[in-house]
Amino acid sequence: MINITRVNREEALRYLGGAGEPDSRMLALLDEAEDGLLKAAKPKYLCKIVELPCEWLLRGGDIKKHLGGCEKAAVMCATLGAEVDRLIRVSQISDMPRAVVLDALAGAMIEQVCCEVDRILSEKLPESFFTYRFSPGYGDYPIEMQREYLRFLDAPRKIGLGMTESFLLTPTKSVTAVAGISSAPVPRGRRGCAVCSMQKTCAYRRKGSHCGFQNLT
């Protein structure tokens, strides 16, 4: 079970236009919205480890490159749950500024949930090295893979995470991803942030990016 008690505001503020330090008006908005979000969110995740090569998983060149040299991969998905979507929807009618803040905070929070999954994994497999998370839709990895991920993890039944006919995840604040697992250190460009020594100071990460994304178009 994942329990998040504070949302990463820096990240959320970046989504909101990144205008430096928030003033008191912004802070009040953030406080109120964060409170509402934490009450509405029910973070859930699923994670299964597969042996590589795994035929259904490897479609296109980028994912093969990404998982190159790894013996296993962790296939995962995570969601904040349907109530968060609803909260944002209601706010869009009654209070648009709040909706925008909620949306940004929820975006930051689902990333936090994923980082928690990374952490749980690395605790479970202390001897292993991990790549960063790679998701359907990155590079040439087809978005259609959402369907395979959800089916493989039995996500609709187990955590209520599904998708639409155009492969958008529902609830919307959700993620599917795969991380490579290796017994040998992973090259920096593919290394997962949770286990990277640059974690605290990385310039890419501060911008919400990843050093590995530079290779993707």
Binding site: G17, R89, S166, T172
Partner: protein
């Protein structure tokens, strides 16, 4: 023996255990989904079934949980093939010793509003499965998490077969399904839809189900079903932690809640079922009658009519110019804001009436019901004089609604009551008939009695008939008030029905109507009125109900009353802006996003300045400054929106001033906005809408997941030449391209020389300027601010 006979004659019915667990344990390999094994390894599947028959199971679930057209896509098998084979496998294994239940799980896509699957799509998937399973003895819907999807399933079963139906949902540890359905709402809704038994399966172990099962039993008379998991799987070994003996023990503890049908879900095997059967054979079924009072619900909220509850009356165009315009303009957001504001005012139920000669009432009812249910939990009262509108509204409603209304006329009784029965709703019964409204209480009571009798003859519980003894105008007929109250009292005490009454008619033609209304309301409450229909935002009305609930002992310790009034923010005496500084104030107010102050400052300025002057010299510059600061990263997006909202409040003041002085409107141009087909991320589009609104443009918002044809039709019908499209995902950019292509192709939207009359601007996270140009857009807007700049450019103002 058929299932219904079994249900009536046998003490308990034993269901089978898990199929998935058996398949997993056998190590059987399958290509696409476990359902394909019905065709590739029929013997293996039959052997699992046989093991359950040998363990004593009375009913076998076919191996068809995910055998719907959506999930089977890509498997190379059809629904008919798999279900046909699956029923055959179960039937052969049963050998006459057990019944075969067609097992149907959720489609695998979420229904609107969480997802994009419509009620009709879900219905279509289920219908196909039900038709394919014609040889089964009964139909089971299990592991359901969405109440609307379950409703589609049960209706598909009822309308396409006459087989018995069992419905079970899956609840999480917080006592709700993934989509937030409560056990009570499920029990009320499924009972109303006429299932034969209902209950819970999967997700939790039987040791954790007591709260869920206890809640179910409070809201239904039906026998309950429990098909629990064998506890929780160990994350490493995947073994479940409750063993057969303990499993049976835990189920035994649930029997006093009215459980009559039991089996096992994930992790259970024939051994569990054998133990369960052993336990059941030494117990007696205890039927538990429903204890809840009259109740209606949405998917997440049950409102029990055990105290006076307000039905909000404001979603109704009668006598409301703005509301009528909203209907004509398809302005759903306006209607939604009416819903939300009434809930804030104290309404617990909302009446929904969208009857207006200029629109298609039926499709509007469906749209509005769906939209309201996507943002609020209050149960709804579907209000129309047309049976086909009621039918459509009832069908698309998630939960148990109220129908408004039936009356004593033969035509009404024979058209409306069957709908109420079919959809399991409650109904308002008006005490009038072919001869009009009886003058006397006696006459109205007689009609009420007739309505109740006719309802009961169709199997509608009188707890679901709410009688309206009708309020007449006291200034026209002074005695009428007494008659209404007396009839109400008699209905309440002699028929035992709940009562409903619209109250504000009473004061028509009198001065100080509020006083008359609230006094009448209090009198009616004292006579036993349960459901006053009123405007909860008139404080003296909702206040009277709140006070009555305290004084009559419904509101224990006056908790609700205190909550409503104690921390009411001492009405922040909207600072009557310092008179001398009106000018400076308006700028500050807009810049700082202070709505009330902005409106007050505008009012002051209007006393000495021309309206358009204020717009052009003050409001727009203030907004431009905010926009520039946003671009320069001095403020955040929500602050930009707050400022825009404040400007909107100022515009509203100016608009109503101009309307009074007969001046011209201030709309600068009409713009269509839509999130393209397939895309459900609409927050970006909504931000653009807010800003365009605030800058004085008229926006026709078509919503999300919008068909290209609808964009074109709206542009043609309303002669709109500017269209904004939004798409968030790479996958939906194709829809954007299609929409633009259709706009360009449409003759009516072209100039005589064949060039397009429509300016298209597009935006969205994954879009780039190059791509926007490539797919034929005229402008690419990086953010909401740029959309406004583009509109200014196009309209030249």
């Amino acid at each position: 023996m058929d299932f219904r006979t079994l249900l009536n004659t046998k003490e308990f019915i034993l269901l089978d255990g898990a199929m998935g667990t058996m398949i997993q344990k056998s190590g059987a390999k399958y290509d696409h989904s476990p359902e394909t094994l019905n065709l590739t390894s029929p013997g293996l599947i039959a052997s699992f079934h046989r093991a359950y028959v040998d363990a004593g199971a009375d009913v076998l679930y076919t191996n068809t949980f995910g055998a719907n057209a959506y999930k089977l896509e890509g498997s190379g098998c059809t629904v008919a093939e798999i279900i046909g084979a699956a029923v055959g496998n179960a039937r052969s294994a049963a050998g006459g010793r057990a019944l075969v239940a067609l097992d149907i799980g959720p489609v695998g896509m979420l229904c609107e509003p969480a997802g994009t699957m419509t009620f009709e799509q879900a219905y279509g998937y289920f219908k196909e499965q039900i038709e394919a399973g014609g040889d089964a003895d009964l139909i089971v819907f299990e592991t359901m998490t969405d109440l609307l999807e379950l409703k589609a399933a049960v209706l598909a079963a009822k309308e396409n077969s006459d087989k018995p139906v069992i419905a079970t949902m899956t609840f999480e540890r917080d006592g709700r399904t993934f989509t937030g359905v409560s056990p009570a709402a499920f029990a009320l809704t499924a009972t109303g839809l006429g299932v034969d038994a209902l209950g819970v399966n999967c997700s939790l172990g039987p040791d954790e189900l007591e709260p869920v099962v206890a809640e179910l039993t409070r809201y239904t008379d039906l026998p309950l079903v429990v098909k629990a998991n064998a506890g929780l799987p160990d994350p490493n070994s995947n073994e479940y932690n409750i063993l057969p003996d303990r499993f049976a023990e835990c189920v035994q503890a649930l029997l006093p809640c009215g459980v009559k049908i039991a089996g096992g879900c994930c992790g259970t095997t024939p051994e569990y079922i054998a133990k369960l059967g052993e336990m059941l054979s030494s117990n007696k079924y205890t039927p538990v009658p429903r204890t809840a009072d009259s109740a209606v619900c949405s998917a997440s909220t049950v409102v029990e009519i055990n105290a006076p509850r307000i039905i909000g009356e404001r979603i109704n165009p009668t006598g409301k110019k703005i509301f009528k315009q909203a209907l004509v303009d398809n302005n759903i957001d306006y209607i939604l804001s009416q819903a939300l504001v009434q809930l804030k005012g104290g309404a617990e139920l909302l009446d929904v009436n969208v009857g207006h000669p200029e629109i298609d009432e039926k499709s509007m009812m469906v749209r509005v019901v769906k939209a309201i249910q996507s943002v609020c939990d209050a149960p709804l009262q579907i209000d129309s004089t047309k049976p086909e509108v009621l039918d459509a509204g009832l069908r698309s409603y998630s939960g148990k609604p109220i129908v408004n209304s039936v009356n004593g006329e033969e035509k009404s009784l024979s058209q409306v009551l069957p709908l109420v029965k079919k959809y399991g709703a409650a109904v308002v019964g008006l005490t009038l008939d072919e001869n009009g409204i009886p003058k006397t209480a006696e006459g109205r009571f007689e009609i009420a009695k007739k309505i109740v009798e006719r309802a009961e003859a169709l199997g509608i519980d009188r707890r679901d008939v709410f009688i309206d003894c009708l309020t007449l105008t006291v200034s026209a007929e002074q005695e009428a008030c007494r008659q209404t109250l007396e009839a109400l009292h008699r209905v309440k005490t002699e028929l035992g029905c709940k009562t409903v009454l619209g109250v504000s008619n009473i004061s028509f033609g009198l001065p100080n109507r509020g006083l008359v209304n609230s006094t009448f309301l209090t009198m009616a409450l004292e006579q036993g009125l349960d459901l006053p229909i009123l405007n909860p935002n008139i404080e003296v009305m909702s206040g009277a109900v709140r006070a009555f609930r305290v004084l009559s002992g419904y509101d224990k310790n006056a908790n609700d009353f205190v909550a409503a009034y104690n921390d009411a923010p001492a009405t922040p005496a909207a600072p009557a802006a310092k008179p001398q500084q009106g000018t400076a104030d308006l700028f500050t107010a807009v810049y700082s996003g202070l709505k009330n102050e902005g409106a007050a400052a505008t009012k002051l300025l209007l006393e000495k300045e021309d309206a358009m002057e204020i717009v052009n010299q003050r409001l727009i510059p203030a907004l431009d400054r905010v926009g520039a600061d946003f671009e320069n990263k001095k403020i955040f997006l929500p602050q930009l929106i707050q400022s825009a909202n404040t400007a909107q409040a100022c515009f509203d003041v100016i608009k109503s001033h101009l309307a009074k002085s007969g001046g011209a409107g201030v709309s600068k141009g009409k713009i269509i906005l839509a999130t393209v087909k397939g895309d459900i991320h609409d927050i970006g589009k909504n931000i653009v809408k807010t800003l365009l609104d605030n800058y004085g443009y008229t926006v026709v918002d078509l919503g999300r997941d919008v068909d290209p044809q609808l964009v074109v039709d709206t542009a043609v019908e309303q002669n709109i030449t500017m269209v904004g499209l939004s798409a968030l995902m790479t996958t939906t950019l194709k829809s954007m391209e299609d929409t633009i292509a259709l706009i360009r192709r449409t003759r009516e939207l072209q100039n005589p020389d064949g060039s397009s009359r429509v300016t298209v601007f597009v935006g969205g996270a994954v879009l780039t300027k190059d791509y926007a140009m490539k797919i034929g857009a005229d402008y690419y807007c990086r953010d909401a601010k740029e959309s406004v700049d583009t509109a200014k450019l196009v309209f030249g103002k």
